[in-house]
C-alpha cells in the first residue's frame, strides 16, 4: 500500500468538508440556530486536518509507521 497516498486523499476529502462548511457559515445569519452545528463541523474538520498534518510530519520524520507514538493530543 503506497504510504502517504491515502493521507493525500484524506486531505482532499477534508478540504471538501471544510469548504462546504465555510460556504454554509457564510450563508447562515449570525443568529441562525443551526450555525453552531456548522461551526462544530468546521472545527472538527480542522482538527482532523491538523491531525493528518501531524501524521504526515511523523511519517516524514521517522518513516511514519516506525514512529508509532500517539500522533496527537486527545
Amino acid at each position: 500500500m503506497p504510504d502517504g497516498r491515502w493521507q493525500h486523499d484524506l486531505k482532499n476529502e477534508l478540504g471538501i468538508v471544510l469548504g462546504f462548511s465555510q460556504v454554509l457559515l457564510a450563508e447562515l445569519d449570525a443568529d441562525d440556530p443551526t450555525r453552531a452545528d456548522v461551526a462544530e463541523i468546521h472545527a472538527a474538520a480542522q482538527r482532523a486536518m491538523l491531525l493528518i498534518r501531524q501524521l504526515r510530519q511523523q511519517h516524514d520524520d521517522g518513516n511514519g509507521a516506525n514512529g508509532a507514538a500517539h500522533p496527537a493530543p486527545r
Binding site: 500500500m1 486523499d9 476529502e13 462546504f20 454554509l24 456548522v38 472545527a43 491531525l51 514512529g67 508509532a68
Partner: protein, 674 residues
C-alpha cells in the same frame, strides 16, 4: 610281464644267433615277438615305429657295434632296457656297457640265463617306469603347486594394489573434504585426522595423532568435545551437535556428527567425528531471524500506528457526520441542504478511506481479525442488494438478484466482511454503470465453492488496464470524473476474500460490461439473522417515556453532539461523566435508566467500567450501550458477553443511537446493532 607278447628288438647280424635267442626265449615259455636288425639305420627305424619291451644287442657287428647301438637306444628309447648278448664281451667292456646304461649282459655261451635276464629287465623297467611316472606326477604336482602359488601371489599383489588405491582414494577424499574428519580411540587419543582437521588445529598430522582433546584445545572446549564423544558412544549411534571452536578470528561454530565405530560384534572401539564450519550459515540465519523480527515489528508498528490514527480521526469525523446529520434534519434551504449533503458524502468517504486503509494494513500484516461462521448466501446477497437499491434508483439502475436454488446455501465467511465485499462490488457496479443500466447478482457453485457474481452493464475495462485493477489507489482514470471512490475497494475485496479462504476476480468486455466475483467455501446451513436498515425516523420523532441517560465520554465534541441529539427528545435527560471513576460515582448517585459507555477513557478502559458496574449489585441491572470505534465482531461479541446490552460503532448514526435507547428503555432485548 606285459599282457600280450613281449616285443623285443634284437640287434644281431648272425641268423643262427637270432634263431638261438628266439628259441631260448620261447623255450622258456616267454611269448616273444622279435624284430631283428643289423644296422644303425634299421635300428633307428624300428625304434621310431614300434614300442619294445627289451632291446637285445650283440656287441660286435660288421657295420655296427654295441656302443653305437647303446647310444642310439639311449637317444630314441631311453626307458627300454638293453641287454648285451655277446660271445666276446670281456669283463672290462661289460662294466663299461653297464655303466653306460645297459641293464645286463649275457654271454652267448650261457644263453640259458637270458630268459631270466629278460624277465628281470622287464620287471626292473616297469619299476623304473613306475618310479619315473611317480616322479613325473610329483613334478607335475609340484609344478601345479608352484603355479598356484604364483597365481595366489599375483592375486595378493593385485589385492594389495587395489587396497592401496582404495586407501589413497579414501585419503584423498578425506583430505579434500570441506569437513574436519577425525577418529579417536575410546580413551580419546586421535588415531586419524584429515588435512582440514590438522590445518584447523595448526599442527602436523604426526603431532596430532596420539594426543587428546585436552592436549590440543582449551580445557573448557575439550570438556565439551569429550562430553559429546561420550554421548555418541553411550547412545551407540550418531549424535548431531554444535560445537564452538577457537580460531584466530574468534570463536567459530561447527556442526558435528559424532558416531561410534563398531567391531564385528557391535562393540565400539573408536569414535569418528565429522565437523563442518557453519559459522557463516549461523550468522546468516541469525541475520534472517533478526530481519524477520524487525519486519514483523515494523508491520506491527505500522498496524498499531494506523489503528491509532484510525481511532483518532474517527473522533472529529464523528462530529462532522453527527452534526451534518442534525443539520439535514433541520429546516434548511435546498442549497444549504446540498452543502450538507456534500459534507456528509465527504465525511463518509473519509470514513471509508480510514477504514479501508486500516483493513488493508491489517491484511498485509496478517492481523485481520475475522469471525468466520456459516452465512446464508441468500440472506446476505438480498440484504446487500436492498442496501444499494436506493443508490441505483438515483440513476435508474435496476439491482436484480437472479433466482437460484443456491440462494438456500451457506458459505463460511465473516458476515460483516462478506457484507463489506458485496457492498464494494455492488457500489462499483452502480458507480461505473450507464444510467438506466442493470446490476445482476448471480450465483455459481462447484462441489465445494460458491461464486457470487456481480455483473454490470457499464463500459467494461480495456484489456491493457485490467491488470491494474486490484492495485491500491488505482482508479483507472475515474479520479478525474465525478465518480467517488477511494481506489482501495477492489484491493480490499481481494484481500478480504483471501483472508476468508476465498478468491476474487473478474471478467470484462469493453462496451458490454464487467462481472466481478468473489468465491468462498460452501458449508452447512447458517443461522437466521435479522438485518435492519438504518432510518432517521427516530431523529424526527419526539415521543418516548421520560428517562435519564448517563453518557461516559471524555471527548467534548462527542458530548456536545449527543446533547444536541437529546435536545430533540425532551423526555430524555442526558447526564455526562468525563472519565470512568466519575461515571461510576455518577451512576451510583443518579441511578440512570441507560448508560452510554465510550471504551476509550482517560483513567480506565470501558471494559473495566463495564466489569465494575456488573460487580455492583445496585448498578448491575442498568442497561449499558457501548460506543466504540473498534468495529471488529470479536470485540463486539466479547463486550456483549461481558454484560453490554448493545454495541454501537463510531462514527455514530444518531438515529440508531436513539432507536437503541428506545429499544433498551422499552426493555426489548437487542443484539449488537451495527
Amino acid at each position: 610281464m606285459p599282457e600280450g607278447p613281449i616285443r623285443i628288438l634284437h640287434v644281431e647280424d648272425d641268423p643262427a644267433d637270432r634263431e638261438l635267442v628266439a628259441a631260448t626265449l620261447a623255450g622258456d615259455g616267454l611269448p616273444v615277438v622279435i624284430d631283428c636288425v643289423d644296422t644303425a639305420e634299421a635300428m633307428a627305424a624300428a625304434l621310431a615305429t614300434a614300442d619294445y619291451h627289451v632291446i637285445l644287442a650283440d656287441d660286435r657287428l660288421p657295420r655296427f657295434d654295441g656302443h653305437a647301438a647303446q647310444r642310439l637306444a639311449a637317444e630314441q628309447a631311453p626307458l627300454v632296457p638293453l641287454i648285451f648278448v655277446s660271445g666276446t664281451l670281456g669283463e672290462e667292456v661289460a662294466v663299461e656297457r653297464l655303466k653306460a646304461g645297459a641293464v645286463d649282459y649275457v654271454l652267448k655261451q650261457r644263453l640259458g640265463r637270458l630268459p631270466e635276464a629278460v624277465r628281470r629287465a622287464i620287471r626292473e623297467a616297469r619299476v623304473r617306469a613306475e618310479h619315473a611316472r611317480t616322479a613325473a606326477e610329483v613334478l607335475e604336482l609340484n609344478a601345479q603347486l608352484e603355479q598356484r602359488v604364483r597365481e595366489r601371489t599375483a592375486q595378493l599383489a593385485d589385492r594389495e594394489e587395489a587396497l592401496r588405491a582404495s586407501e589413497q582414494r579414501l585419503q584423498s577424499i578425506l583430505d579434500h573434504s570441506p569437513a574436519s574428519i577425525y577418529v579417536k580411540d575410546l580413551r580419546g587419543h586421535y588415531i586419524f585426522a584429515n588435512r582440514l582437521f590438522v590445518q584447523t588445529v595448526g599442527m602436523e598430522v604426526d603431532a596430532v595423532l596420539g594426543r587428546t582433546d585436552h592436549d590440543l584445545f582449551p580445557p573448557q572446549l575439550a570438556d565439551i568435545y569429550c562430553r559429546n564423544d561420550a554421548a555418541a558412544v553411550d547412545a551407540g549411534r550418531a549424535v548431531h551437535t554444535e560445537e564452538p571452536v577457537e580460531s584466530p578470528t574468534g570463536t567459530r561454530v561447527y556442526a558435528s556428527a559424532k558416531f561410534p565405530l563398531m567391531n564385528r560384534d557391535g562393540v565400539p572401539y573408536a569414535l569418528c567425528g565429522i565437523s563442518t564450519d557453519i559459522t557463516e550459515r549461523k550468522q546468516t540465519e541469525e541475520a534472517l531471524i533478526t530481519a524477520r523480527h524487525e519486519a514483523e515489528r515494523a508491520n506491527r508498528a505500522k498496524s498499531d500506528f494506523l489503528s491509532r490514527m484510525s481511532h483518532d480521526l474517527r473522533t472529529p469525523l464523528n462530529a462532522v457526520l453527527g452534526f451534518a446529520q442534525l443539520l439535514a434534519a433541520d429546516g434548511l434551504t435546498p442549497e444549504q441542504l446540498e452543502c450538507v449533503g456534500q459534507i456528509q458524502t465527504g465525511g463518509r468517504l473519509l470514513l471509508d478511506l480510514i477504514n479501508e486503509v486500516l483493513d488493508l494494513s491489517r491484511i498485509e500484516a496478517g492481523h485481520l481479525s475475522l469471525s468466520p461462521e456459516p452465512v446464508s448466501i441468500g440472506e446476505i446477497v438480498t440484504h446487500a442488494a436492498s442496501l444499494v437499491t436506493p443508490l441505483g434508483r438515483e440513476r435508474n439502475i435496476d439491482i436484480v438478484v437472479e433466482a437460484s436454488p443456491l440462494l438456500e446455501r451457506a458459505v463460511r465467511a465473516d458476515r460483516q466482511r462478506l457484507n463489506q465485499v458485496l457492498l464494494n462490488l455492488l457500489s462499483n457496479a452502480i458507480k461505473y454503470n450507464r444510467d438506466g443500466g442493470r446490476v445482476t447478482m448471480s450465483l455459481m457453485a462447484t462441489e465445494s465453492r460458491l461464486r457470487v457474481c456481480v455483473t454490470d452493464t457499464g463500459y467494461g475495462i480495456e484489456p491493457d488496464k485490467q491488470q491494474l485493477l486490484f492495485r491500491p489507489f488505482e482508479r483507472l482514470g475515474a479520479e478525474t470524473t465525478a465518480v467517488e471512490g477511494t481506489g482501495l475497494g477492489l484491493t480490499l475485496v481481494r484481500g478480504l476474500a483471501e483472508a476468508m479462504g476465498g478468491t476474487a476476480g473478474f471478467t470484462s468486455e469493453v462496451d458490454r460490461g464487467s462481472t466481478f466475483w468473489v468465491e468462498l467455501q460452501l458449508c452447512e446451513s447458517a443461522a437466521e439473522r435479522a438485518l435492519d436498515a438504518p432510518s432517521d425516523a427516530p431523529l424526527r420523532s419526539a415521543t418516548g417515556r421520560p428517562a435519564t441517560v448517563l453518557y461516559i465520554e471524555d471527548n467534548l465534541s462527542n458530548v456536545k453532539l449527543m446533547q444536541r441529539v437529546f435536545a430533540r427528545r425532551p423526555a430524555l435527560s442526558l447526564v455526562h461523566a468525563s472519565d470512568g471513576h466519575l461515571g461510576l460515582s455518577t451512576a451510583r448517585e443518579r441511578r440512570p435508566d441507560v448508560i452510554l459507555l465510550d471504551l476509550h477513557l482517560p483513567d480506565m478502559g470501558g471494559e473495566e467500567v463495564l466489569r465494575l458496574l456488573w460487580t455492583d449489585r445496585d448498578l448491575r441491572n442498568i442497561p449499558v450501550v457501548v460506543l466504540s470505534a473498534d468495529a471488529t465482531s470479536s470485540q463486539q461479541r466479547r463486550l456483549l458477553t461481558s454484560g453490554a446490552r448493545a454495541y454501537l460503532t463510531k462514527p455514530l448514526d444518531l438515529a440508531r443511537v436513539l432507536k437503541t435507547i428506545d429499544s433498551v428503555l422499552s426493555d426489548t432485548a437487542i443484539e449488537a446493532v451495527d
